[in-house]
Structure formats: structure tokens, C-alpha cells
């Protein structure tokens, strides 16, 4: 599949949040301030492309030759955990102002990043395709988060019925957003790109 096809598919058709239902915990984190949510999403997005490439590398160069494909999960989690370990050990004084760095450990543990790695390898992408897919998935994730933060401001402003406030209305809104993305499926992009 051409790179353009991968990008369009991963941003719209297989949108990480609205189609694959990954990384929902931070996405729906209704208690977070919009600024924090955006920074967290950016941190996750920055991790996705390198992680997708690393997942491909581990799969092709290490696991398959050694004949231990089932260890993929353990290895990927170790890959996730190492930077977390380093950050936690080195962090003598308390965490600095919540810049992107502060969010990295939490982003590492979100299923969006691990999900991208697994999806890329299970889709049988090559090295470059994995990287592009990782970047496209990150782009789709950010698109969903930015659109959602504007929508949430409108919901807060308009005031939603009492029992629906917070998580329920976030889920219903995500449902309607997912419905809006439905029409842009892989078939459409396959026809478009010929």
C-alpha cells in the first residue's frame, strides 16, 4: 500500500481512538484540564512512530530469527518500561512543571503506544511503513484529541443533563464522533488512490 494510503487509512479509517478504541483512558480523562490533556496526547503521539519502528525491528531482527515470537509482548513491555525506569530512578527532586517530559512515563503505559506497535507488526508492515503508520496513527490520535477538547468546551458551556455529566456524555460524544468517521473507511481510500 502506498504511503499516502497508509497515512489516510491510519488517520481516518483506522483512527486509533475512534476506530480501534485504543488510548481511551487519557482521551476520556474528563477530569483533566484541556491543556494537560493536549500535552499528554502530544507526549503519546511523539512516542508512537519510534515505538512502531522499534516493534518492527524487534520482531524481524530478534524474535523471528530466534523462533520465539510469543515473547513479543514481554519484549515490547520491557522496551516500554526501560525509559520509565531511568526517569523514575533519576528523578531526585519532585517532577518539574508538567511539561511534556513529565507526562512521558504515563504516556508509556497507555495502551495507545503499545497498541500502535502491535498493530504495525500484525499488519505486516516493513520498516518504513511501520514508521509512517506510527506517525499517521499519532496524527489521527492528535486530531481526535484536539477536536474532542473543542467539543468538550462546548459541552461544558451548554451544560448537559445531570446524570450524563462527565464520563457518560464523553462516551456518547466519542460515539457520535466515531460515527462521523465511519464513512471514511479503507474502501473509500482504496478507490480514491486507485
Amino acid at each position: 500500500m502506498s504511503y499516502a494510503g497508509i497515512i489516510l487509512t491510519w488517520v481516518f479509517a483506522n483512527n486509533l481512538v475512534l476506530n480501534q478504541l485504543l488510548g481511551l483512558c487519557p482521551f476520556l480523562g474528563v477530569s483533566r484540564s484541556p491543556a494537560a490533556a493536549l500535552r499528554f496526547a502530544l507526549a503519546s503521539a511523539l512516542l508512537m512512530p519510534p515505538f512502531a519502528l522499534a516493534a518492527w525491528a524487534l520482531e524481524r531482527l530478534v524474535l523471528v530469527p530466534l523462533g520465539v515470537p510469543f515473547l513479543q509482548l514481554l519484549v515490547l513491555v520491557l522496551l516500554l518500561v526501560l525509559p520509565l525506569l531511568v526517569l523514575r530512578l533519576r528523578a531526585r527532586r519532585p517532577a518539574p512543571a508538567p511539561g511534556i517530559g513529565w507526562y512521558l512515563p504515563q504516556a508509556l503505559s497507555s495502551c495507545a503506544v503499545l497498541g500502535v506497535g502491535l498493530l504495525a507488526t500484525s499488519a505486516g508492515y516493513g520498516a518504513w511503513s511501520s514508521l509512517v503508520a506510527g506517525a499517521a496513527a499519532a496524527g489521527g490520535y492528535l486530531l481526535a484529541v484536539v477536536v474532542w477538547s473543542a467539543l468538550r468546551e462546548r459541552l461544558d458551556r451548554h451544560g448537559v443533563p445531570r446524570p450524563l455529566r462527565g464520563l457518560p456524555i464523553a462516551l456518547v460524544t466519542a460515539g457520535l464522533m466515531a460515527m462521523a468517521f465511519l464513512a471514511f473507511d479503507e474502501l473509500l481510500f482504496k478507490n480514491l488512490l486507485g
Binding site: D156, R157, H158, G159
Partner: protein, 427 residues
């Protein structure tokens, strides 16, 4: 003549409905048998009452001394006996002590030869002293004029505000037709206070009334004043909108036509502010007219003076239809800042065939954004106020709202946005 100038954005064009009372010359209303004079006829705190029941007062005698910022003196508009000092609720909802005077004894100011003083003899300090002592306040907003002049610093322009952009109201218009000379003299007095050249004084009138005000126009030109035609849009008559339209960055002092007349009478004739011209109009009054009435006269007496009611009014409004207060009865007294008493019939609450309906949900049509002269987003402010979020209100600039009413005027869901936005300030 230069093309009509106006403020940059927003604003609405309500039907002006001035034809009802535009051609009626100013008529003296009959003197009331009882005068009810509230101690608060201005923007600030009520004045301190100097009289007690049983005392006799002369016409024009000081009965309330101004105390605190924004306060002004109150004078007796009729000679007589103080019947009682009671608490009244003004149409704006404010509670204030008021003095009830029963008419008795002879008049000393009106009908007696007065000695006119040449205003050029006074020095600046004496002029301000005299204006303040005679209780002159802005007849548009109720701000004490002396305080305003002292706080004006060194303005480069004096705008004589004859725009009167609210529908129905024709008091200022009639003043310019009949008493243009006195008004312009008042303008000269204020110009001398700030050593302004005649060319720095602008007579502001709306473009469509240039013919009917030809005489005022001529007299102003004779004195060297400039005449600026403005578009007939609401809220052109408000101070800030005039500055936006004309001042172009220069520091401008804006004074209402009625206020300038009061300044003239206070300085030249020494008469305190005890009378004002008020428009009584609307389809529910038999003969709409412009009355020069004594302060403290009951609205009921004013309406009787205009031939009484012609059918049950749908709503009685004190002031203009866009900024005025609805009142349940005609018991309220006439005060300094009341420009009109409107008795609106069934069809008059709508402009040009729009339906009247109860308040509906906001449909986000954006008309209020287009109408707001300050570029605010009334619907977003409205929603945040309902949700109780003061932080958002500051971010959206609620403090810039002057409650002009344009947003509520155009709102298809008839949401009382002015009440909501005014309420938002207390969040």
C-alpha cells in the same frame, strides 16, 4: 455634507416610531398638586435629606445635599408643605428615601422677572461650583455633570449629543428645534471651561433629521461649531459609540443636549434643575406629546395631561424601549434621568411583523454576535453564566458589556440576554 459617520461594528436599526411625537412642540405640563421627590435622581448614593415633615419649602430650595461620589443636590420643584419623608422604589428597582411636598404658597422662580447673568464673567471654578450647586446631572445617564467636567481632564473635542438613537424619544429633538440658542450657549459655556476653539465643538445629529433641524444647524454654523451627521443606528447615541464614530482617537467630552440646557439655565438664570422635557408616547396614549414637567410629578398626571389612556397598554416603559424599565403602575414620580414614558400597545412590542413568544432555547444562530457593538459573544457569555463560570466570563470580556440591549433585541429565542449578562457581573 460629509457622508454619515458611525461606529465600526454591530448595532441595530429599530423602527424609530418618533413620528408619534416628533412634531408636537414642547408643552408645559400642569403643576402637580403633590410632588414626590426621591433623594436619588442620579447614578450615585442618595442625597442626604435636609428637611423633615411639617416644614415649609420654597420653589427651588435645596432639600437634599449630595454626599459621596456620583451624588447630586436635589431641589424642591414646587413651593409647599413637606407632608412626609418615605421610602419609594424607583422604576429601576432601587429603594430610596423621598420627600412628598403638598403644593402651597406662591412661586418665586417661575413667572417672576429673573436677572440674567453674563456667563463670561464667571471664572472656571465659579462655573463648576454653580453647576454643582444647582444639582445638574446628565439627563441621559444620571451622572453629576460637575463631577464629569472636573474629571474630563483636557478634552480636544466637545460632542453635543443630539442623536437620541432610541425609538419613540423626541425630547432632545424638540429642544434642538425650539431652544437651539440656549443649548448652544450651554455648549459655549462648557467650551470656555476647557478653552476649546469653536471648531472643536461638534453638534451631533442623525442624518435623516438634518432638514428638520436646519435652524439649529444654521445657528451652530454661525457660532463656528461643526455639524456632524451620523447614521440613524442604535446605539449611536451612547457616549462610547459617538467617540468611536467621531473622535478617531482624540479625547472627547460628550454632553447630552438636555444637560447643556440645564447648564445654561443654572449658570445664566441660576435656576436649579427642577424641570425637564419628557416624551410621553406610544399607541396607548391619546395625544403623544413632549411635556416640560416638574420633577416629582406622578406619571399618571403626565398621562392625564396627554389626554389619558387610549385602551389598555400592553406594557408601560420608563425611559427608552431598548434600555428603559417596565413599571406596573403610573405611581412613580418623574426624576432627572427619565427621558420618556412609553405606553406600548399590543403590536408595539414587536418590530416589523416579528412574533412575540416566550423565552425559547438558544439555537446558536450568531445574530447576537453580529449585533453586539463591542464584538462580544453574548450567547457564549449567556451559557457560561448559566453554568456559573466567572473565569470564562473574564476571558470573554463581560466587563466591556454596556447593556445596550442590541443582542436581546435581535435574539430569535427572545432570551432576556441583558438580564443574564447584568446578572453575570455578580458571579
Amino acid at each position: 455634507m460629509s457622508q454619515a459617520r458611525t461606529f465600526p461594528r454591530g448595532g441595530v436599526r429599530p423602527p424609530d416610531r418618533k413620528s408619534l411625537s416628533e412634531d408636537q412642540p414642547i408643552r408645559k405640563a400642569c403643576v402637580p398638586s403633590f410632588a414626590l421627590l426621591p433623594m436619588r435622581q442620579h447614578a450615585g448614593e442618595p442625597a442626604r435629606c435636609l428637611v423633615s415633615p411639617g416644614e415649609r419649602v420654597r420653589e427651588g430650595m435645596l432639600i437634599g445635599r449630595a454626599e459621596g461620589p456620583g451624588a447630586a443636590n436635589v431641589h424642591a420643584s414646587v413651593p409647599g408643605l413637606i407632608r412626609e419623608v418615605l421610602e419609594v422604589v424607583l422604576p429601576s428597582g432601587a429603594r430610596t428615601p423621598a420627600v412628598r411636598i403638598e403644593l402651597d404658597g406662591e412661586f418665586e422662580c417661575t413667572g417672576r422677572p429673573q436677572t440674567a447673568r453674563n456667563w463670561r464673567e464667571f471664572i472656571r471654578h465659579e462655573l463648576l461650583e454653580r453647576i454643582e450647586e444647582k444639582g445638574v446631572v446628565g439627563l441621559g445617564g444620571g451622572q453629576p455633570t460637575a463631577a464629569k467636567l472636573r474629571a474630563a481632564g483636557r478634552p480636544q473635542l466637545l460632542l453635543v449629543n443630539g442623536v437620541e438613537s432610541e425609538p419613540y424619544l423626541t425630547a432632545d429633538h424638540r429642544l434642538l428645534v425650539e431652544k437651539a440658542a440656549e443649548v448652544l450657549t450651554g455648549a459655549q459655556i462648557v467650551a470656555s471651561l476647557f478653552e476649546l476653539e469653536p471648531a472643536q465643538v461638534l453638534l451631533c445629529i442623525t442624518e435623516d433629521r438634518r432638514q428638520t433641524l436646519a435652524s439649529a444647524h444654521g445657528q451652530a454654523a454661525a457660532l463656528g461649531f461643526r455639524v456632524e451627521p451620523l447614521a440613524a443606528r442604535y446605539p449611536q447615541g451612547e457616549e462610547q459609540q459617538l467617540r468611536l464614530a467621531l473622535a478617531g482617537g482624540l479625547d472627547a467630552l460628550v454632553l447630552n443636549v438636555g444637560t447643556l440646557l440645564a447648564i445654561y439655565e443654572a449658570v445664566v438664570w441660576g435656576t436649579p434643575l427642577i424641570e425637564r422635557v419628557v416624551t410621553v408616547s406610544g399607541s396607548a396614549v391619546r395625544r403623544p406629546s413632549n411635556l416640560k414637567a416638574r420633577l416629582g410629578t406622578r406619571l399618571r398626571e403626565l398621562v392625564e395631561d396627554c389626554g389619558g389612556l387610549a385602551g389598555r397598554p400592553e406594557r408601560i416603559v420608563v425611559g427608552g424601549p431598548l434600555r428603559g424599565f417596565a413599571v406596573a403602575d403610573l405611581e412613580a414620580p418623574l426624576t432627572k434621568e427619565m427621558a420618556g414614558v412609553l405606553l406600548l400597545g399590543r403590536g408595539e412590542l414587536r418590530a416589523r411583523g416579528s412574533g412575540t413568544a416566550g423565552e425559547a432555547a438558544c439555537i446558536g444562530c450568531g445574530r447576537c454576535i453580529e449585533a453586539c457593538p463591542w464584538g462580544l459573544r453574548p450567547l457564549e457569555l449567556y451559557h457560561w453564566i448559566r453554568e456559573g463560570e466567572p473565569r470564562e466570563l473574564r476571558r470573554l470580556g463581560l466587563e466591556r458589556c454596556t447593556e445596550c440591549g442590541c443582542c436581546a433585541y435581535v435574539c430569535p429565542s427572545r432570551i432576556p440576554l441583558v438580564r443574564w449578562l447584568a446578572g453575570g457581573r455578580w458571579l
